[in-house]
């Protein structure tokens, strides 16, 4: 079952419809409700390699629906500390719980000051309303 539309207050957002939950020098990253809704039923998550690096504003993987492929854009730079293997096995978790069980990767941040450049909830909602 797809989740109801929501955008948690405590998250930081990227304009390519990704979210980051920052905890010290680590961030959990996923895609927003808007992104999963635009894609429809997600049937494939192509993750980055654990231990590899991701760069802010650049692609780190792909998610696919039956009809379409979408690049995943990293909101922050760093090293891939963990890949959510449960989502690799069951990509529909992204639709069901985009901010919870549907998280995608955890990143050890190389430059935590990048967080200041992300959108807060109000700014992301403004972007969505444009």
């Amino acid at each position: 079952m797809a989740a109801d539309e929501s955008y948690p207050e405590e998250l930081k957002y990227h304009r390519e419809h990704d979210w980051a939950k920052v905890d010290g020098d680590t961030a959990t990253i996923g895609i927003t409700w808007y992104a999963q809704d635009a894609l429809g039923e997600i049937v494939h998550f192509e993750p980055p390699e654990q231990g590899g690096s991701v760069a802010k504003d650049e692609s780190y993987g792909e998610v696919e629906s039956v009809k379409a492929v979408s690049d995943l854009v990293s909101p922050l730079s760093g090293e891939v500390a963990e890949v959510n293997q449960a989502v690799v096995a069951e990509p529909e978790k992204i639709n069901e719980d985009p901010y919870g069980e549907g998280w995608l990767i955890k990143v050890r941040l190389s430059d935590p000051s990048e967080v200041d450049g992300l959108l807060d909830l109000a700014a992301y909602k403004e972007l969505l309303s444009e």
């Binding site: 429809g40 039923e41 494939h44 192509e46 696919e64 039956v66 009809k67 492929v69």
Partner: protein, 343 residues
């Protein structure tokens, strides 16, 4: 800029919350509840598709049969009144201008149902026909329970005029899903009444997304993807729809290809590795091109159709597809990719 056209059912699709896309100049529903759910409904019970965008050409009068017999690949002599036939419209080089269904209404009286995107080239190649596409709304009701939900008894590839749920229709035992079912042509003014009556029988509304995954599992080629004016029926594995013992446009090349073989053939494949092949991706070993690709909702793996060298076209041959820089292994399978037991 021509604005997109709408079928008589557009308001119904919008009210059901369908995602609407532009397809061949028409605003069509690509999905309602979800492609996989709709796909499974057609494989397990019954689904209904609005295919009113498809074109209809007709030809009647003395000489109609001879005219079509000289221009279509299949032998119209194989069907009687009230029967339908899959056939191809070919060009001088034997390439496929379109694939279509020919319905024989009587001696020298035929209806052709053609792809929406090809109405103009088809009409140009068959100038004596009349374009009567505006006369019909077309609904496809497909699935193992499709006919019983409509209280219909109908043999595959036959058709008749009949009342379906109180609406006068051209009822045909045809479809594009690999399941039993029917296609119903009715007056556009009756389309909403027929659609509502079909949904009231518990038939699931299905969009073009599921139509595409269903036809791909069944290995029915899609014109513009898998077949085109640059590809011949022999390369595409559609030789069975070509009567090479009669004369029709481009037949010489097809006879030659049949005798000498073609350099490439259209094959079906399944990926053994994770990933979803897509149209336009390259096969690296053997070399080739993916013409259609998707996730198979029934098998849960990536599937597709591809042209490969004829020497590498045997079922069981391993392949490698370049998925945006990542090589993924798979193997060629016998068509269809998926067939339900009993279908």
């Amino acid at each position: 800029m021509q604005t997109a056209r709408r079928t008589p059912l557009y308001e119904r699709h919008a009210a059901l919350g369908a995602r609407i896309v532009d397809f061949a100049g028409w605003e069509m529903p690509v999905q309602y509840a979800g492609i996989q759910e709709e796909h499974r409904a057609v494989r397990t019970s019954a689904g209904v598709f609005d295919v009113s965008h498809m074109g209809q050409l007709e030809l009647s009068g003395v000489g109609a049969r001879d005219y079509l017999q000289e221009r279509l690949s299949n032998d119209l002599g194989r069907i009687g009144d009230g029967q339908a036939q899959y056939t191809l419209l070919t060009n001088e080089q034997g390439g496929i201008t379109d694939d279509l269904i020919a319905y024989k209404r009587g001696d020298d009286d035929y209806l052709l149902v053609v792809n929406a995107s090809n109405v103009e080239p088809d009409h140009a190649a068959l100038p004596d026909t009349s374009d009567v596409s505006d006369r019909y709304a077309l609904l496809a009701v497909q699935g193992p329970e499709a006919l019983e939900r409509l209280s219909l008894v109908l043999e595959p590839f036959t058709f008749r005029e009949d009342d379906v749920l109180g609406v006068r229709c051209l009822v045909a035992g045809t479809g594009y899903t690999g399941e039993r079912g029917c296609e119903l042509g009715c007056d556009p003014d009756d389309a909403v009444r027929l659609w509502d009556a079909i949904l009231a029988r518990g038939v699931v509304p299905c969009g073009l997304g599921a139509r595409d995954t269903l036809r791909l599992e069944a290995c029915y080629p899609l014109h513009g993807n898998d077949i085109s004016p640059e590809r011949t029926p022999i390369e595409a594995g559609l030789g069975w729809a070509c009567a090479l013992d009669k004369e029709f446009t481009g037949v010489d090349r097809l006879r030659r290809q049949k005798a000498e073989g073609t350099s490439e053939r259209l094959v079906a494949f399944v990926l053994d590795d994770r990933g979803i092949p897509r149209q336009g991706m390259e096969l690296t070993d053997p070399p080739g091109q993916v013409t259609s690709g998707s996730l198979s909702p029934m098998l849960g793996v990536g599937i597709g159709l591809a042209y490969v060298p004829s020497g590498s076209a045997e079922a069981g041959t391993t392949i490698s597809v370049d998925l945006r820089g990542r090589p993924r292994k798979g193997h060629i399978v016998k068509k269809p990719i998926y067939k339900r037991e009993g279908a």
